[in-house]
């Protein structure tokens, strides 16, 4: 009996196995049909409560929930990317993502470039000031000559410039920056979204208050590229449905409803462990990208530096090309190069970052190597020739070892400079340390503290490098390599 049962079990097992072998691939195939399409949506992740990093370090907020719901209704997989607000529309046009579900207001200028969905919420511009009100202003009309802040690239900036040209508009990159300036009373006030502004003030516990009427109302909608007509109509259908069945209202209440205070309490404090892991994770990315770029830059810099130095015979043309590339790279801002490679050439953020930083390092290191080669006394090569060494041997055993030793300290400086330049890649939505710091600040409202910690992290890496460069330089001088 037991034996038979056991046999049966074996047979069952084999059948089951066969079943899986035959049908599993089909089931996978079948599953693929629904979420095969991915919709990539961009937002800043620095605009609470619409998009921000929650206590668990995950992206959350009103826009995030709306994005998820729209994607669900469209039957597509959702991929969220965070990017800077001031380049977000250009990124959409460059095809970096399909949509921006990130609280973008509809404006005629933007409508020239993209098509907007039906609005998914309405808001408006509101002036907020310090409760002490040292400037004694009670509406935007009274702010002539006063400094009023807006977020860089936000519609408020343009609106103020057109309608209130006497207002001294200053643009800042994040709410945290605006808040700390207003706290120090270095600005009179700021114009922001009424909902967001109130939410942020409440959450950060800052003594700021809204004054005067709303400057204007605005429709918040989802931009897509003009050619994506099908996508637009699918999004519109989803939004209309969500409005009808009350889903939008539900999501709105979750963030702005009456019971929001409790959830806010939880949100206003990011756990220390999340902060630490965000900062260290971001810093690991920074160092990783720096390392790859340095290695790449150095490897390319050697042939490039040689071409810059030896410009005769068959090398004339390659040498001229190298010279042009190096001059162009050294003569243009790295930020532009980064944006060009990322958006202009359409590379993914990481590849764009490594390529740009690597090529940039190449240019600077090639000059250093050229200078190193030039500072070796030409007599050294002649002495080596007198000893019967071939051209290659002269270079390999006499010139290069000296040139390289001379070049090491300035090369170290290039390494330090590059490590610091990685700060720029936060702009192309790579979650490196500065971007992570900004996302922490958008929740904690402590820019001083977290920017300082970030600076210290950089310093921990760059300081030993600088010291090492100094020591090597001293040793090289003692050995008398440098000829002048």
């Amino acid at each position: 009996m037991f034996n038979i049962y056991s046999k049966n079990r074996t047979v069952c097992f084999i059948f089951l196995l066969l079943f899986f072998i035959i049908f599993y691939p089909l089931s996978v195939y079948g599953q693929k049909e629904t979420p095969t399409m991915t919709m990539t949506s961009a937002l800043t992740g620095k605009y609470p409560p619409f998009s921000y990093f929650g206590t668990d370090g995950e992206l959350t907020g009103f826009d995030v929930d709306v994005s998820k719901e729209i994607a669900r209704r469209m039957g597509v997989r959702l991929k969220l990317v965070t990017t800077e607000w001031d380049g977000i529309l250009a990124g959409l046009l460059a095809g970096k993502y399909d949509v921006i579900i990130g609280s973008m207001a509809v404006t005629p200028e933007r409508e020239n470039q993209v098509n907007f969905s039906v609005p998914y919420y309405h808001s408006g511009a509101q002036l907020f000031i310090h409760r002490d009100n040292p400037a004694k202003v009670y509406s935007i009309e009274e702010c002539k000559g006063k400094q009023i802040a807006t977020g860089l690239g936000e519609t408020y900036q343009h609106y103020l410039e057109v309608h209130y040209p006497e207002v001294n508009v200053i643009t800042l990159k994040s709410t945290a920056e605006i808040f700390s300036l207003l706290k120090q009373k270095r600005i009179t006030g700021f114009v922001s979204d009424r909902l967001v502004g109130s939410w942020q003030i409440n959450k950060s516990g800052r003594p700021f208050v809204p004054v005067g009427d709303m400057l204007y109302r605005e429709d918040i909608a989802i931009p897509v590229r003009k050619e994506d007509k099908v996508l637009l109509s699918e999004i519109n259908n989803a939004i209309i449905e969500m409005k009808k069945d009350g889903t939008l209202k539900e999501i709105h209440n979750k963030y702005f409803g009456l019971n929001q205070d409790q959830s806010e309490e939880q949100n206003s404090q990011m756990p220390q462990s999340v902060i630490i892991s965000k900062l260290l994770g971001g810093f690991a990315i920074t160092i990783g990208i720096a390392l790859i770029s340095i290695v790449m830059g150095f490897v390319l810099a050697i042939p490039c530096g040689l071409l810059l130095t030896y410009r005769k015979g068959v090398l004339v043309v390659p040498s001229m090309i190298s010279r042009t590339i190096v001059d162009f790279i050294r003569g243009t801002p790295i930020l532009i190069q980064l944006l060009f490679v990322w958006m202009g050439m359409g590379l993914s953020p990481y590849i764009a970052a490594v390529t740009t930083l690597g090529i940039n390092t190449m240019a600077y290191m090639a000059e250093v190597i050229r200078a190193g080669l030039m500072s070796v006394d030409p007599g050294q090569a002649r002495a080596a020739q007198a000893l019967g060494l071939s051209k290659i041997q002269r270079f390999r055993f006499v010139i290069w070892p000296q040139a390289f030793r001379i070049a090491v300290p300035p090369l170290m400086n290039s390494v330090v400079a590059l490590t610091k330049d990685t700060a720029l890649i936060s702009i192309i939505s790579i979650p490196e340390v500065i971007r992570e710091a900004q996302s922490i600040i958008s929740v904690t409202f402590e820019p001083g503290k977290y920017y300082f910690i970030t600076a210290v992290l950089f310093f921990i890496v760059t300081f030993p490098l600088m010291k090492l460069a100094g020591r090597l330089e001293k040793r090289i001088k003692q050995k008398g390599y440098v000829y002048d």
Binding site: D377, G379, Q380, R382, A383, A384, Q385, A386, L387, G388, L389, S390, Q393, F397, V398, P401, Q402, R405, Q478, K479, G480, Y481
Partner: protein, 232 residues
């Protein structure tokens, strides 16, 4: 015998280095090439060492035109120590010496090191073998550069202004030291240091403005130089 026949050399800026220069240097223990600064001594040395190509004329070493000689054969005939020595600063004195034997003559590093140490002992400077050029004195560096040149066992060894960086005392010591290197090579010393030349060479030539003025006995040459100098 090094024979220089009707050699002319003009620098890119138009300065005449050598003008229809002819002379012959017999294999002699120490042969002096005297002349003031700008007389064309170093140009001559650079032409003999194949660092400069004369626009006219030819140079023969033991009957072979130097332009037709293979590089290595040529370097085995002619060693050069420049006025500025050009010891390789990233290498120790010993490493300076074994570079050419190891890389050019493909001698094993071990054998080259043994030979180099023997050479240094013979030249009385074995204590600087493992020092870098920046760590040794001017006199030691001068000897080290000569030692490096001698490693390829050249038949002729050209020394450009070997006493330029030495003070009077060291010059005397150096002269004595050089005199003892009978076996090593035939030295051709380019110098404007008359007492040094007198103390070390028995024969030589005297150059002025890229031309040979006189050749023969060193005392004769010095007399001609003095007369010449007084005339001007």
């Amino acid at each position: 015998m090094i024979e220089i026949k009707n050699v002319s050399f003009t620098y890119a800026d138009g300065t005449k280095g050598l003008i229809d220069f002819s002379a012959s240097f017999p294999p002699e223990h120490i042969f002096g090439v005297l002349g003031e600064s700008g007389s064309g001594k170093t140009t001559l040395l650079n032409c003999i060492g194949r660092f400069l190509n004369p626009e006219k004329g030819s140079i023969y070493i033991d009957g072979d035109n130097i332009l037709n000689m293979k590089e290595l054969d040529f370097r085995r005939k002619i060693g050069v120590v420049f006025q500025d020595l050009y010891l390789f600063p990233h290498l120790t004195i010993l490493e300076n010496m074994i570079l050419a034997p190891c890389k050019v003559q493909k001698v094993t590093s071990k054998k080259a090191r043994t030979e180099a140490r023997e050479m240094l002992t013979r030249l009385g400077i074995e204590d600087i073998a493992d020092s870098y050029s920046a760590q040794v004195s001017g006199g030691q560096a001068q000897r080290a550069a000569i030692a490096r040149g001698l490693m390829l066992k050249p038949k002729y060894m050209l020394l450009d202004e070997p006493t330029a960086a030495l003070d009077a005392g060291t010059t005397k010591e150096f002269a004595e030291w050089l005199r003892e290197l009978q076996e090593e090579s035939n030295f051709i010393i380019v110098t404007h240091d008359v007492p040094f030349a007198k103390s070390i060479a028995s024969r030589g030539i005297y150059m002025h403005n890229g031309k040979k003025i006189h050749s023969g006995n060193i005392q004769n040459i010095i007399d001609v130089w003095d007369t010449d100098f007084n005339k001007r």
